[in-house]
Every structure is written in structure tokens, then in C-alpha cells.
């Protein structure tokens, strides 16, 4: 069994095949009750998770100026798609204001594109460089490794207030304010989370796998790209998705360094729905519609990739 064979497709089949019957195997009463309790718990958790989303949708489909007239109505109050039209820039200032919006115009599609670009760049850089560093920490032997790792780890604990201002000044001095680079750079080479996360998974991969590759004459770089990376594709994708979401939701940093319209990301652009006149109500309907629309691309992304997480993890069963 050569290690270099791509693991996922081969492994996916058998694992699932064995997993399925195993789940249905225990037929005794106790397990039956256990399953009922387990499912009930799961359903309860899902309800608690989903209710606020329903409430967001209900609010997004309401007329902002009528919302509080019936605060506990389970259905939208004064049903309208106005909020969504507002977010997509389809309604006039007057229409928006009549429904409790501010009338400020936003360029939804441009901001969406900017967000996609920025989040993709951040994720790609971070996962790639993070994986390399994690490999060096988990698998390579070099002097001072554990010390350097611990120092890296402390970056998790650096209060953002320390880093934000100097980093902002750095971007200004590099002339990068209002560019994509300014948004991306601080997250591009590493985040402590990415390195830490992947290192823990690399630690879990049996050493024999690599030893075999060494016997085949593979160098470090080759071992990393041909053996370790494919085997860890599950964790890598998991990390990529998590970091993509994180990058997607990043607000304060892009607001600081790149508020110019041409590079404005979705979160910053949608801030207009969040706070308006001091002491005034936010445009609740607009805010919820904006949030739902902004979350949609990553929901899709997640739905597409989450199946791959399972399939690609099959290696664990055959080593």
C-alpha cells in the first residue's frame, strides 16, 4: 500500500459503507431509548439555534416603521420585501425612508465582490502558510522548536488593542490605506489559531506514514505536499471554512484601513443599517435583511464543502 495514492476517493467509499450498518446494529431496548434521547437533544439544540434565524427573517420581511406595534407577532409585521430591496439598492431614498431606512445608498454587488476577494485571499494565504508552519512545529526537529511555538501561541493572547493601532500606522506608512492589501496582510501569513489548529492535527497523524515516505526517498517538501497535506485535507478544509467565515465577518479592521467605496467590504458597507441617528432605532428590517443576504454566500459555501469534510476524512479508518 503506497502512501502516495490520493487518499480521499479511495477511502471514502469503504468508510461510509462500514459506518452505515454499524450505526443500525445495536437493536436492544436500552440503545433504542438512548437514540430517542439523543435525537430529542439534537432537535432541541437545532430549535434553539434556528429560532433567532427565523426571527431575523420575520423581521427582515417586516416594515421597519411598524415593527414595535406588534412585537410578539410570529409573522412579519406589515409584510414587505422593502428591506431586501433597500439592501440591494433597488429602492429610492424616499421609499427607503418611508420604511424606516436611512436612504443611504450602498453598492451591494461591489461590496460582495470585495468581500469574496478579500476573504479568499486571507483564507488561501493563512491556510497555506499556516500549514507549512504547523508542519514544522509538529513534525520537523530543530533547535528551539517548542520555545518558538510557545511564543507563537502567545500571539493568541495579545489584546487586539495592542496590534490594531501599530498595524494601522504600518499600513499608512506603506501607502496601503484603502487597498485590498491593507485588509488582507495582517491575516495573510499567519494567525496563531491556524498554526495551532493544524499543528494539533498533524500531531495526530501516525509517524509511520512519513517514515514510509522517507524510505521511498521523499524529501521534507515532498513529504509535506504529497503525504501530510492530503491526509490532513479534512482539517485543512475545516480550517479554511472557519477562517473564511472569520474573514468574511471581520468588521473593525477593514473599517479602519479600507473604508473607501472601491475596496469597501460587505460588513463595512452594511454598517449603515446598524447605527443611524444617535438614540434612534437601527433600521431593524434592513439590518436583518442585510445580515441574511451577507450570510448567504457562506451558507452556500459551507453547504457545498461540509460534505467534503466527511468524505475526505476517511483516511482515519484504514491506516
Amino acid at each position: 500500500m503506497s502512501v502516495q495514492t490520493p487518499v480521499e476517493p479511495a477511502a471514502a467509499g469503504p468508510t461510509r459503507a462500514t459506518a452505515a450498518p454499524v450505526q443500525k446494529a445495536p437493536k436492544d431496548r436500552r440503545a433504542g431509548i438512548g437514540r430517542v434521547v439523543a435525537w430529542a437533544t439534537l432537535v432541541l439544540i437545532m430549535l434553539v439555534t434556528l429560532f433567532p434565524f427565523y426571527w431575523m427573517l420575520r423581521t427582515a420581511l417586516s416594515n421597519g416603521t411598524q415593527l414595535a406595534t406588534d412585537p410578539s407577532s410570529p409573522l412579519p409585521v406589515g409584510f414587505t420585501f422593502g428591506a431586501f430591496e433597500r439592501v440591494l439598492g433597488l429602492s429610492t431614498t424616499a421609499e427607503a425612508q418611508a420604511q424606516g431606512g436611512s436612504g443611504a445608498a450602498i453598492d451591494f454587488w461591489l461590496y460582495l465582490l470585495n468581500s469574496l476577494l478579500v476573504a479568499t485571499l486571507i483564507t488561501a494565504g493563512q491556510v497555506f502558510f499556516g500549514a507549512m508552519a504547523a508542519y514544522a512545529f509538529a513534525r520537523l526537529r530543530w533547535p528551539g522548536r517548542d520555545l518558538v511555538f510557545f511564543v507563537f501561541l502567545t500571539a493568541l493572547m495579545v489584546p487586539p488593542i495592542f496590534t490594531q493601532l501599530p498595524n494601522f500606522l504600518l499600513m499608512r506608512d506603506l501607502g496601503l490605506l484603502n487597498t485590498y492589501a491593507a485588509i488582507v496582510l495582517p491575516f495573510f501569513f499567519m494567525t496563531p489559531f491556524a498554526v495551532f489548529f493544524l499543528r494539533q492535527f498533524f500531531l495526530g497523524i501516525p509517524r509511520e506514514v512519513e517514515e514510509a515516505a522517507v524510505l521511498d526517498g521523499a524529501g521534507t517538501v515532498r513529504r509535506f505536499f504529497r503525504v501530510i497535506a492530503p491526509m490532513a485535507s479534512g482539517p485543512l478544509i475545516t480550517l479554511a471554512i472557519l477562517q473564511y467565515i472569520q474573514a468574511w465577518n471581520e468588521y473593525f479592521w477593514p473599517l479602519l484601513v479600507a473604508s473607501d467605496r472601491s475596496v469597501r467590504v460587505l460588513t463595512v458597507g452594511l454598517g449603515v443599517f446598524r447605527s443611524q441617528t444617535p438614540q434612534g432605532t437601527p433600521d431593524w428590517a434592513g439590518l436583518m435583511a442585510a445580515t441574511l443576504l451577507a450570510a448567504l454566500p457562506i451558507v452556500v459555501l459551507f453547504a457545498v464543502f461540509s460534505r467534503r469534510i466527511v468524505d475526505s476524512i476517511g483516511f482515519s479508518g484504514i491506516k
Binding site: 416603521t65 406595534t69 436611512s102 436612504g103 501599530p166 443611524q276 432605532t281
Partner: protein, 457 residues
Amino acid sequence: MSTSAPSHRRPSRLRRGLAAASAALALTVTGCASYGVDQGGDGESGTITYWMWDSAQLPAYQQCATDFHAANPDVDVQIEQFGWDDYWNKLFTGFVAGSAPDVFVDHTSRFGEFAARGLIEPLDDQVAASGLELGQYVPGSAELWVGPDGRRYGLPKDFDTVGMFYNAEMATEAGLTPEQMNALTWNPTDGGTFEKAIAHLTVDTNGVRGDEPGFDKSSIATYGLGLENSGEAFGQTQWSWFTQTTGWSPVDEAWGTTFHYDDPRFQQSITWWTGLVDKGYMPPLSLTQGGSLDQQLQAGKYALITNGSWNIANYSKLKGIELAVAKTPVGPEGRRTMTNSLGDSISTTSQNKGAAWKWVRYLASPACQDVVARGGIVFPAIASTTPAAVETLSKTGLDVTAFTDPIADGETFPYPEILQASEIQSIMGTAMDQVVGGQAPASSLTAVNGRVEAVFQ
């Protein structure tokens, strides 16, 4: 780059890597080595940036910018709007980095600190040279923009006052006429006809009014008087409209450092106010976190609230309730409503101060303020535009003279201007929360007054 490097060379490679990293570090050092404020330049043309926080006013100001550009083709104004919280953080980092906007909407509670640190331009020379008539502004608004050093740091763009918004239907049901609502009286002992009115407007879940036998104050359907929060240091919309009618004032003069939270008149007024919670006419502070004041009003939880004129347009859009406005009650020494004014300031770091001044001058001119008046959100600062603003705002169906009459009648007092405002707001915010929340008596504010004054030592 031999792949079989002997082990003793390893550190040197590492050192080279570190050298590269420290080169990157050096880059960051240069950026942070300079302290003090860049003095900018006097450019007369080009693009200038203008920041504001109120998105509702954006269309009107965009119109001003367009008109301005038509008259001054060599100056291009780019307006950026950020919500209130982000606004100050972003402005602050802009100051630190020397990337602040050329001109920005400023607040009376903030500009003192900016001026003291040399972050905004004194405008006295330009005002004098341009022959700008400061008498054209609503009384009190231009004076607010004079800083602690006696110099002018902004021109007023609008003014605001505080009044009462109430549910007209509930008032009618309670037998209170608009005339009565406009002529309520108040005193710190028994609350006068104002307390009688809110007691009568309060209804428990059985439909019993607050001044009727059998009233259950533990189960309220509608509170007579709404509560937003404890009001921090000045209680602009929360309590200043009654505490100041006793002749009390938190601080003697603009930029003063002697405070009067230890004054018995103030503590007595606040004691009366928090007493409304015990009587069931006003919600406890703990119930006020979450939905905003206007939502509670719209939901019928409150019959009457006090708020600023800047919210007239917002409130008028609330569907499902019929709103009316009234002047705040007359206290022992007459009626008192706080006026405040927003202004436009020029950053010291601006490279285009000439052009920035032209824009500020235009913003403070009848041409732009008339556009703002017709925008129907706020009252512009130039007195002659008030009728236009009243006319536009009256289309909401509200009698907005309740907010403008006190100016003509001399019933206003200015928003207190102090240095160290955020520190004092923070101290007083916590202290007032304790008092209104019932954890401390109003007399505890005597000790707090000492802490407030200690900020200046």
C-alpha cells in the same frame, strides 16, 4: 544552497531569516517615531473629505456638496458617513495617523478635547476676514463652539432642544387636552401637575390608572413616563428638563471644573424622579435595556417620553400610534430646555485648509442651511431658516413649535461644555445607574461629586 548543509550552519540561516524579519520591523518603527500633530497645508483647491454620522441627513448634505461644487469647480467634496460609534473611533485613529478628514461634523461634548490637543483649527481669523455674521445663528448655538482657550473651533450647523412626545390617543382617553399637556407644572416635592398627568396616564394590566384605588404597580401595561437610561452626567433628554428648573446647573460655566452634583436641589429632584419607579409610573432601570425608547413608545409601553428635536422625523414615521408633542413642564424657576448644536470643524492635519474653509463657510451659509431645513430632519442653526424647517417638519403632523418656541422665549440653557468629558460621563454613568437602579440613594452623589472634581487635579 546545498541541501546537505552541515549542522553548524543552521543558526546562520536562522539569523538571516531573523535579519529579514527585523528589516520588516524597521519599517514599522519609522511609522511610529513621530509624535505631535502634522500641521497640514493651506491648499485652496482639490478634493476634500467630509465626514458625518447621521445617515438620514446624508441626502441633504450631498445636495449641498453638489451645489458647492457648481459654485467652486476647483473643489470637490467627498462625503463619507459612518454610524455614531464607529465615527469617533475612526476619527480618532484618523487623528493618530494623520489621515483624518479635512472637515467633519463635530459634537460639543468632544471638540474641547480635540482643541486642547491641537487637532482642530481655530477659525477666528477666517471668520473675521470673511465678515461672517455670527448674529445670524440661533441664540446660543454659535457660542457653543468657543473652546476652553476662548478661540472658535467650529461653525454651528444646526441646533436642538428637548421636548415631550406622547401618545395622543392615550392622552385623550385620560382626558388630557393638548393645551393641558403644554402647560404642565413641576416641582421636586410632589411633582406638580406633571406627576398627576403621568400618574393618570399609567395603566396597570387590569386597566386601573395609576391614581385610582386598586392600582397594581407590580403589573403595568403602560408606564406614564418612559425611561431611556440614567442619563450620565448631564441627563440631556432624561432629567435636565426638570433638574435645571430649580435653578441648579451641573457646572457653573463653560469649561468649568466645579461641579454641583452635591447640591441638595439636584439630589432632591433626582430623588423625586427615582421615586416614580417605586410608584409604578416609570419603569425600573432594569427594564430599559434592549429595545429603544421609540419602540417602547410605539408598542404602547410608554405614554410619554422626553427626547430631542433631532428625533422628530424618526418618531413621526412610527406607524400604529398617534403621536403629539408638547413643551417640557414649567418648574419652580420656569421652563428650561437644553439646547445643543452640532458644528463643522477643520482638522489641523488637512492639506487643503483653504478649500476646507470655503466648504465650512458654505455649510454655515443660508444657501446650504436652507437645503438642510427642507431636508426635514433637523433645525439648521441660521435663525432665518427655522420657518422653513418648521414647515417641512410640520408635514409630519406634529406641532414642532414645542421645540422652537422655548428658543424665542429664552427658556433654554446650553449643553454643558467640559474637558475630560468621557471620563466624567463614565463616572457619572455608573453613579447614576446605581441611584436610578435603587442601589444607592441620591445623597451618594455628594461623594461622586468629589471624584468628578478630582479628575481635574
